[in-house]
């Protein structure tokens, strides 16, 4: 039984950052802007917020510090994503190109700044993890469920779930969501009824920046004790989860959960006796999440639900 609890807790560590970033990607692509810069934005958000934790941790600690860092991560992610928004929306640039540029800029900039700002001159930013919650009061005592979801966890896990619910409601139940989707499907029509396509796309990119920045922080805090200018390719994996999840919030959550669980097995197989005893090399387990995703895609990709106008700069003069 303890193995199962352990697996569920680990799955959450992998799933939540993937899901949050992929949901961010969903907002930008639904508004019509492809954002392959998610990786770079995660790095930027992670950099700013971990630097913030590093500098404030003598005065603050625990959940207050983490919540402040979350705000820093979201603001910095959104600010960095504006570079992409400006190129993609105002300059009508090729969105793959500016996304690639930001993916390259973020790690270089964060190494450069870390070495400039830190007195030690090193590129890694250390922090003390005072954020882990041993047991949530009351809820942690519930049998089964308490052990699965309310022990050995982080506040960011619950934020992730809340973000999922808010995203789904905003996208499907609000005027804003409808307008955003219209801009990704048929911007000319949206414009004709008075929706500002540029504004909606800016907001879409900004939301993706906020969530990707947050995802960067969540990833670093839950898996490491220092930030070294990378997020282990999670931004690209989130892109895969987004496509796998067919640009739909619940499917994205499912895809992230699937991938997170597979990733958990590949990371923990050696501590699960019956898996470890199988005559299979460890490398195979490491490949499983990626192979499984590919196979599932073969069976689920016949009808792609991609927003129709994604990646095409909106030109008011064009027909």
């Amino acid at each position: 039984m303890s193995t199962i609890f352990f697996l569920i807790q680990q799955t959450m560590f992998f799933t939540i950052p993937l899901m949050v970033v992929a949901l961010g990607g969903m907002f930008t692509e639904r508004s019509g802007v492809i954002n392959i810069a998610l990786e770079g934005i995660m790095i930027m958000g992670g950099f700013c917020s971990i630097l913030f934790i590093n500098m404030m941790q003598n005065n603050l600690s625990g959940q207050i510090l983490l919540i402040l860092a979350i705000i820093v991560a979201m603001i910095s992610g959104a600010a960095f994503s504006m570079l992409h928004a400006y190129a993609a929306i105002n300059m009508k640039a090729d969105q793959t190109i500016s996304g690639t540029a930001l993916n390259m800029l973020a790690p270089a900039l964060s190494i450069f700044m870390a070495r400039m700002i830190q007195p030690s001159g090193v590129q890694q930013i250390q922090f003390t993890n005072t954020f882990r919650i041993e047991k949530v009061p009351l809820l942690g005592d519930i049998p089964l469920i308490g052990e699965m979801f309310f022990q050995n966890t982080y506040i960011t896990t619950y934020f992730g779930v809340i973000i999922l619910i808010i995203s789904a409601v905003v996208l499907y139940k609000t005027k804003f969501g409808l307008r955003l989707r219209a801009c990704g499907e048929h911007p000319q029509a949206a414009d004709a009824v008075g929706v500002s396509v540029y504004k909606m796309r800016y907001i879409g990119v900004a939301i993706s920046g906020m969530l990707a920045g947050l995802g960067g922080l969540i990833f670093v805090v839950t898996t490491s004790t220092n930030f070294n200018a990378n997020v282990a390719g999670y931004g690209f994996l989130a892109l895969a989860v987004l496509i796998f999840g067919q640009w739909n919030p619940y499917r994205i959550a499912g895809a992230a959960l699937f991938f997170g669980f597979m990733k958990t097995i590949s990371a923990t197989y050696s501590s699960i006796p019956w898996l470890n005893n199988l005559p299979i090399t460890g490398y195979f387990y490491k490949m499983i999440p990626y192979i499984a995703t590919l196979i599932v895609l073969v069976f689920s990709s016949k009808n792609s639900q991609a927003p129709k106008a994604e990646g095409i700069p909106y030109d008011q003069g064009a027909r």
């Binding site: 540029a101 190494i111 690209f236 994996l237 195979f284 990709s301």
Partner: protein, 365 residues
Amino acid sequence: MKKENVKKKFLLPDLTNAAGPISSITAILVGLFTGIIILLISNPARAFDGFLWIIAGSLQSAKDIGNVFYYATPIIMTGLSVAFAFKTSLFNIGASGQFIMGAYGAVLVGVKLQSLGSFHWIAALLTSMVFGALWALVPGIFKAYFNVNEVISFIMTNYIGMYLVNWMVRSTVYHKLTNRSVPVAESANIPKLGLDKLFPGSSVNGGIIIAVIISVLIYVLLDKTTFGFELKACGLNNDASRYAGINAKKNIVFSLLISGALAGIGGGLLYLAGSGKYIYVEDIIAPEGFTGISVALLGMSHPIGALFAGLFIAYITVGGSYMQLSGFVPEIIDIITSIIIYFAAFALIIRNLLQRLKARKAGEN
């Protein structure tokens, strides 16, 4: 009247066709300018020294010039790979996986098949080509026949390729003490072709010549053959090309096969360079594939453009590595490169500007 018109045309050359190179050069200038600003912010006193390293550090000695060619070789190949796929409107973000698979193929043959004599390096290089092509074949088939988005399957095959190569290196050509592949046989190294005499002390070898030849071949294939025309037609308008009788599915598979082969050769050229390069068993995706995206974009997805873009990025990288002597972080080069690419994305604006200029001139006439 007509005569005057001709004269005007002669005086004011039509720049709209040159919009691509013009925007790339503008982007490079903006990137270098930003570099100066960053240098000034971080250390005003030595900023000038630092900038001099970037723009002229590679010209210090014959060794440095040779090393520019050495560094350029693999990224020209991955750049060609990405550019080729772009021509069919496919985004090969998986060049890293194909690159490392190609590298493994080359090392495997280079270590195991020592009886081949003077054909050894050719066999190893051809193996790298085949391995790279096969690694792109799976996403190609998935894309063509199952409509699987190639971006996601390439991301997956990058990871699978990395783990697979780690696994295979460990079980076939592993040197335990150093946690890396064993060195390839002398006969598997690409011939130097006298380049080592020309640029003494550098790691340059015949690989750069092979890369140049392949760039030209790819240019010919894309621009002068029916096959190339069909590939580009599929990229521009899939439905129209199907209507015209082009087998779009087949073209997707072939395009990615060739793209993968190019990235695979890149891996072969680097690991057969005789420069002491080994495949380390670590969980890191080969960065050359991602650099290839930059090279392709800066080269405007044109094979010859990719050749020059690869040389340019290698040029400022070699120069930038000397910047540490002036106390600067070499990552400044990455910052400059990314800013260059960011502004290269604005090509459309520059093209529009040139077109407007042209229209105004026409109006004056």
